[in-house]
């Protein structure tokens, strides 16, 4: 019973928004084409996914392909960002000389908006998957890197002492103490990173690629298909939510030891 009421709690706000939106949209306050009601969006979305009545014309039935091409780009760019961000972050956090030689450069690159790399990315990689993957990488890399560095730097020095007292080599310290100690921070970075990854794949698809959810979004805007624009937005939101959920699952499996000592152990 409590489980049921809990899942209700989660649904209250989205339901309220949808109902209010439907009412406003049908009230005739705005032209229906500019603010299509959720029911219309759902109808077009359905056709985009299942292709039942071709209301979405060329996009009819192509949702899975679009979602897959966006998701592939996210997966590729994000995987590269995660591996390189964590490895480089540990190196910067642990070795002073790495920090001194690499950090200033990285800190100068970090404030440059990933979007401003689009021209260069297109020149370097052409119009295809690669510039999009590159942008996704840029967006996800920095939060993962910064959080990893923070996690390493705030690792408890006493744990390192305890481990070296038991004969740990430097490599073992990194693997058995520093990495697990930094893991909560690393996961914080990974979760920020996945959001950035979705934001950037859509941006890239608007300019550099001719497929994917972002491309459909932009293309529908040119054809004044706001129902599809909204359906694309909702699709991205849902996929982002799902991938974040996946990372959260991974996180709670990896950080189960934290449960007894942190706020998240509170019931519910």
């Amino acid at each position: 019973m409590t489980a049921l009421s809990k899942s209700w709690e989660r649904a209250v706000v989205p339901l309220f928004i949808l109902v209010a939106w439907e009412i406003v949209s049908r009230s005739g306050l705005f032209p229906v084409a500019l603010l299509p009601p959720p029911s219309a969006v759902l109808h077009s979305w359905g056709d985009w996914v299942f292709g039942y009545d071709e209301t979405t014309q060329a996009n009819s039935g192509r949702w899975l392909a679009d979602a897959l091409s966006s998701a592939t780009r996210v997966a590729a760019g994000y995987a590269i960002a995660a591996v390189s961000g964590v490895l480089l972050g540990i190196a910067i956090g642990w070795w002073r000389w790495v920090e001194r030689t690499i950090e200033p450069t990285i800190q100068m690159l970090r404030p440059v908006p990933p979007v401003s790399w689009i021209p260069l990315a297109i020149i370097w990689f052409g119009i295809a998957n690669k510039p999009a993957i590159f942008l996704v990488f840029l967006g996800a890399f920095f939060p993962i890197l910064m959080n990893t560095i923070h996690g390493v730097k705030t690792a408890d020095r006493n744990l390192i002492r305890a481990a070296s007292m038991m004969g740990a080599t430097e490599q073992q310290l990194l693997r058995h103490v520093v990495f697990p100690a930094a893991l909560p921070s690393i996961f914080a970075g990974l979760r920020i990173g996945i959001g950035a990854a979705w934001m950037l794949t859509v941006t890239a698809e608007m300019v550099a690629v001719k497929s994917g959810l972002g491309y459909v979004l932009w293309d529908s805007y040119y054809f004044l298909r706001y129902d599809l624009v909204l359906a694309a937005m909702a699709s991205i939101g849902l996929l982002g939510f799902a991938t974040d959920g996946l990372i959260k699952l991974l996180m709670s499996a990896a950080l189960h030891w934290q449960r007894a000592s942190t706020l998240q152990s509170r019931e519910g």
């Binding site: 006493n158 002492r161 007292m165 038991m166 004969g167 740990a168 697990p180 030891w257």
Partner: protein, 261 residues
């Protein structure tokens, strides 16, 4: 051959911020024989931890030499076990993995580590808590895990830095008893830092009373009281009176120096 040999140790901490040097330890020589239980007794800030950390290999003496088992100390290592004031357990590992951490570093298989850990978990009386995480343990239980972890190294030398300072009186007494039993069984050498006169007298075969800063050995007192030690016995109290007098004199001199300066 002595288990631990400190020869003319001097330690100066460079204080870069205040552009001043701090003499923490001044010309300390100590020789700890095999199977001795040496208690380092001194007031806060007199350099007890500094001395212990030099034996552990975390600090290097500015002058003098430290040898353990005849070999000069050149860094931390598994030939010495260390029990810290805070237990310093890996929070992401369950109790048995913490106890067997050394074997993990040596690349032992999981089943072998688990079996080896059990002996030491039993020794410190933590049966039933093997799979608990450090966050689920009380302070005294964490401290036991730290002791079991140090014992598993099977070291000749165990270093302990006020390991029972944070425990309540009852738990402290139980742990002291257990520690003495373990020490008698394992026949190892222990250096135990404390600022409690009673604790030093209950545990040690020797007590080194340190002066306040800079730390010197004021007096090295051998204890041949029978065990278990009776804290109400006249001989125990003679020693206690003597040490308290030393500490009082020390405080007096300190104040006079401050007044003269």
């Amino acid at each position: 051959m002595a288990a631990i040999e400190l020869k003319n140790i001097t330690k100066v901490y460079r204080d870069a911020k205040r552009k001043r040097d701090l003499l923490a330890i001044d010309d300390v020589s100590l020789s700890v024989g095999n199977n001795e239980f040496l208690c380092l007794l001194g007031s806060s800030g007199c350099g007890k931890s500094t001395l212990l950390n030099m034996i552990a290999g975390f600090e290097t003496p500015t002058k003098g030499s430290v040898t353990v088992g005849g070999k000069p100390v050149d860094g931390p290592g598994a030939d010495r076990g260390m029990v810290f004031q805070q237990a310093n357990l890996m929070p992401w590992l369950p109790v048995w993995e913490n106890v067997a951490f050394h074997l993990r570093l040596k690349g032992w298989r999981k089943a072998d580590r688990r079996a080896a850990a059990q002996e030491y978990i039993d020794m410190v009386g933590l049966q039933g808590f093997e799979n608990h995480f450090p966050a689920e343990l009380s302070g005294g239980m964490s401290q036991r895990v730290g002791i079991a972890r140090a014992l598993l190294l099977n070291p000749q030398v165990i270093l302990m830095d006020e390991p029972f300072a944070a425990l309540d009186a009852q738990t402290k007494m139980d742990m002291q008893e257990e520690l003495v039993a373990i020490w008698q069984k394992q026949r190892c050498t222990i250096v135990f830092v404390t600022h409690s006169v009673d604790e030093a007298l209950v545990l040690g075969t020797q007590v080194a009373v340190l002066t306040s800063r800079p730390g010197r050995v004021r007096e090295l007192i051998g204890l041949d009281l029978p065990r278990p030690r009776d804290i109400t016995s006249p001989r125990f109290n003679d020693h206690k009176r003597h040490i308290l007098n030393l500490i009082r004199e020390e405080g007096l001199q300190q104040r006079q120096q401050v007044a003269a300066a």
